[in-house]
């Protein structure tokens, strides 16, 4: 405390340099706070739970060349061949797969004559056992029964096919029937005939989540068996066996019917990784910028502090000769740095909020949580203290006699 006054009067004589350091710290603080917030936001996205057994799934597809009127029978043959492969725990065909190329969504109505749908939900179609193969957790109701399943072709051709039931997600159940049991209730998807909910799964992410709101978790499974021309095979296996199983599965489909074109195949985790690639690279870029900003700022502090030490050699010598200890000289520079950093942090916080306000208008970003402010302040205080340590120690180590004569 005693040292505060001499520090302030020295800083007043070096107003420009002091101001520059304060501005630099303020800018760094404002940008880093927002960048870290953006990073946290992206990491949140990357952690979205799909509801599927991500690590145990592989996918593959195949398409006929030209028209194929026997695709439904071919699909049954394919599935039998796939289930017979060693390492395959279960196999299913599904219309679309999360993070794949395609998606389909429909409006969901609670009344037959509703003008605008209550919500929009992603549509999946599949057979008995699809939920189990994907690793979905049934929280109430049941899976489909074999006699409830429609063939894709029959479903497509009919004007309004009477579906025997659907499975929905719990997020959707809570949205449509808050506080009530959803199983047994009716919803309207296609036309005016009610469809009963037979089961509710804990989670099933929509194929292309946009992370805007809860609707990423509104999904419906229709009891419709796609055929291989517009579906995707999904196999569940041990994580370690995924590559072997994939290779065997591609070969098996080629054996069943070689007159087909193989489609993209791979592990579900790779598919998911591909979907979030831009987010991952943005995270790395933000991390890089944060590190670069902190390093540049640290070097700025080191440079200016070194200059000040050099410039104040005489003053240091005088103070040492008058009885100041090395520790006091060291603390002098450390306190000076603390003052400058604190001023920078103060301005930087306001800047951080201003930038956040602007980002909120430009991009759909939430408000910067207050917790980032003390964290940012701590980081910059630490950075300042570490940066100033070397110059300050050099100052403290100056022999008083040398310093007095200005021989640094």
């Amino acid at each position: 405390m005693l040292q505060l006054r001499p520090i302030l009067s020295t800083l007043r004589r070096h107003r420009t340099a002091a101001l520059l350091i304060v501005i630099e710290i303020a800018l760094t603080c404002a940008i880093v706070c927002n960048a870290v917030f953006l990073i946290a936001n992206r990491l949140d996205r990357l952690q979205l739970g799909t509801g599927l057994a991500d690590a145990e799934l592989v996918h593959l597809g195949t398409r006929s060349i030209g028209r194929n009127d026997n695709a439904a029978a071919g699909t049954r043959e394919d599935l039998a061949a796939l289930r017979a492969l060693p390492g395959v725990r279960s196999a299913a065909i599904v219309s679309v797969i999360p993070f794949g190329n395609q998606m389909s969504a429909s409006g969901i109505n609670l009344k037959p004559d509703q003008e605008t749908p209550t919500i929009h939900a992603a549509m999946y179609s599949g057979d008995v056992g699809l939920a189990a193969t994907l690793g979905l957790r049934l929280v109430s109701g049941r899976d489909f029964k074999p006699d409830e399943i429609a063939e894709q072709d029959a479903f497509d051709k009919a004007d309004e096919y009477p579906l025997a039931g659907v499975i929905i997600t719990s997020a959707m159940a809570q949205r449509l029937f808050p506080g009530h049991e959803a199983v047994g209730q009716a919803i309207y998807i296609f036309g005016k005939s009610p469809i009963r909910i037979v089961g509710v799964v804990d989670r099933l992410v929509s194929p292309h989540p946009d992370h805007a709101d809860q609707s990423d978790l509104y999904s419906v499974i229709l009891p419709v068996r796609p055929n291989f021309d517009d579906g995707i095979y999904v196999l569940r296996t041990d994580t370690a066996q995924r590559d072997t199983v994939l290779k065997a599965a591609v070969a098996a489909l080629d054996r069943v019917n070689p007159h087909r074109v193989a489609q993209a195949h791979g592990t579900f985790e790779d598919l998911r990784g591909e979907y979030y690639k831009a987010d991952v690279s943005m995270v790395w870029l933000l991390v890089g910028v944060c590190v670069a900003l902190l390093v540049v700022t640290a070097f700025g502090i080191v440079g200016l502090a070194s200059f000040w030490v050099q410039q104040r050699t005489k003053m240091i010598g005088t103070r040492r000769a008058l009885g100041a200890t090395r520790g006091q000289i060291l603390r002098y520079f450390q306190t000076e740095n603390l003052l400058l950093t604190s001023a920078g942090i103060g301005i930087g916080m306001l800047g951080a909020f201003a930038i956040n306000q602007w980002l909120m208008t430009q991009y759909e970003l939430p408000r910067l949580p207050l917790v980032y402010l003390p964290l940012g302040a701590l980081a910059l205080w630490a950075l300042g203290q570490v940066a100033v340590l070397a110059p300050a120690r050099r100052a403290a180590a100056l022999p008083p006699a040398h310093a007095m004569r200005g021989l640094s």
């Binding site: 940008i31 074109v261 670069a292 540049v296 200059f307």
Partner: protein, 437 residues
């Protein structure tokens, strides 16, 4: 004088190597980051149709039901088949084309290069004016005609890459492509043609490679070839097939060319009249709500440049600002440390403006060095961007304009950074400096 200052600057750098290196490195990092992001931004926000982007128009009509109408909202981006065919018949523009993305399984001939197996390819189903309207260059053959459209002719135009894959790159005009179980005769092969962004159909990928096959719309429809892209249907769900003429589904992109940019308003009037007619006939429930966006307006209305890319530019320039403030601080320290030298020069008769000029040259020199190093950083940065395998990354490259911009930015920024220190330097009073040393 300039060379003398330059020489003085080099001497001063030698006497303070660490500090100089730090300043050059700081400038270089800031410049490298800004140029990398700016290059990416420029590459992704370029004009995909230079010379005609102000008179080629994307047509939007509002055919959706009244119940789902939100006032002030743009109409959907695609047309129903009924409307697209009606506008096409009217021929109100100089040129016009309807189109959709599609896909087909192709069986290569037995003599295809490298024993090619059957594969899936992406296609575009469109009408004759597509090629002259978008100015596509032809390597072999030519586009099909309006008569071919009317006759659902079994013809196909190939992209250069697809021709290379299927026919080894030779003149394949007259040969057959066996697609989805039936033959299409090659009528033309495009030369290199890569619109960035892929403006005419953003639903099949905003930054993507040109589709491999171009097939007359009617031919593809007749053969029930599969379509790609986005489709919106309305009505009570009991719809006929969405590709049917009267299906309440929008899935077709429609483009028209007018003679001069001044004709845009007249074209929009025509669309509004058309909408009013359809409204009167009971086909359109909503009031006329048509749009005719030129390419630039279309791309900006669709926010085609990814938000992340914009954000990265801001971030990089924020970083550059910190680097500059840092450089100002270091230059200031360096100048003031040389106060005795300045005192001597002033005492020997150098006027203030000479001191000022000397330090500005010194700052500029640091900027030049920072620019050279920054360019290396930017080249590395662009390389990193290209390694990032997102589909848009491959269009990013450094060009001469970027090169010039880098140096202008580096030298401009460092001279700016040098102003304050140079000002402080020429304020040094010679007497006090001479006395104290």
């Amino acid at each position: 004088m300039f060379l003398y200052y330059f020489d003085l600057a080099l001497r001063s750098f030698r006497s303070a190597r660490g500090l100089t290196a730090l300043m050059v490195l700081t400038i270089a990092m800031g410049i490298g980051a800004s140029m990398t992001t700016l290059t990416t931004f420029r590459a992704l926000s370029g004009d995909p149709l230079p010379g005609r982007s102000d008179r080629v128009l994307r047509v939007l009509l509002d055919a959706e039901p009244k119940a789902t109408f939100t006032p002030g909202k743009e109409p959907g981006t695609q047309l129903t088949r009924f409307d697209a065919e009606a506008l096409l018949r009217d021929k109100h523009g100089v040129r016009q084309a309807m189109m959709t993305g599609g896909g087909a399984n192709v069986e290569p001939a037995t003599d295809a290069p490298g024993g090619l197996k059957p594969f899936e390819t992406e296609a575009r189903y469109t009408t004759a004016d597509f090629f002259p309207m978008f100015g596509t260059p032809f390597l072999y053959g030519q586009a099909w005609s309006a008569a071919d459209d009317a006759a659902n002719a079994p013809v196909v135009v190939l992209s250069k890459a697809f021709n290379a894959k299927l026919f080894g790159g030779g003149n394949s005009v007259g040969r057959n492509v066996h697609a989805d179980g039936a033959d299409l005769r090659v009528i033309g092969v495009l030369d290199d043609w890569q619109p960035v962004p892929y403006f005419f159909d953003l639903n099949v990928g905003r930054y993507r490679k040109t589709e491999g096959m171009f097939v007359p719309f009617g031919t593809a429809l007749e053969r029930k070839m599969g379509t790609n892209g986005s489709m919106t249907c309305w009505g009570d769900g009991s719809t006929p097939h969405p590709h049917d003429l009267n299906a309440p589904c929008s899935w077709i992109q429609y483009w028209a060319e007018v003679a001069t940019p001044a004709d845009k308003a007249a074209y929009l009037d025509y669309l509004t009249r058309y909408s009013a007619q359809q409204h009167a006939a009971g086909r359109f429930q909503r009031d006329p709500n048509a749009r005719a966006h030129d390419v630039v307006a279309w791309l900006s209305s669709q926010h085609v440049v990814p938000e992340d890319v914009r954000l990265q530019v801001w971030l990089a320039f924020g970083f550059l600002a910190v680097c500059l403030v840092n450089t100002v601080g270091l230059l200031l320290a360096k100048c003031l440390r040389r106060s005795p030298e300045i005192g001597v020069r002033r005492a020997l008769g150098a006027p203030r403006h000479q001191i000022f000029a000397q330090f500005l040259v010194e700052a500029g020199t640091i900027g030049l060095a920072g620019g050279v190093l920054g360019l290396a950083f930017a080249a590395f940065g662009v390389w990193c961007v290209r390694q990032g395998t997102s589909s848009r990354a491959q269009w990013v490259h450094l060009d001469a304009a970027t090169l010039l911009m880098t140096f202008a930015l580096a030298i401009g920024a460092s001279v700016l950074a040098g102003l304050l220190p140079a000002w402080k330097a020429c304020e040094v009073s010679p007497a006090s400096q001479l006395k104290s040393s």
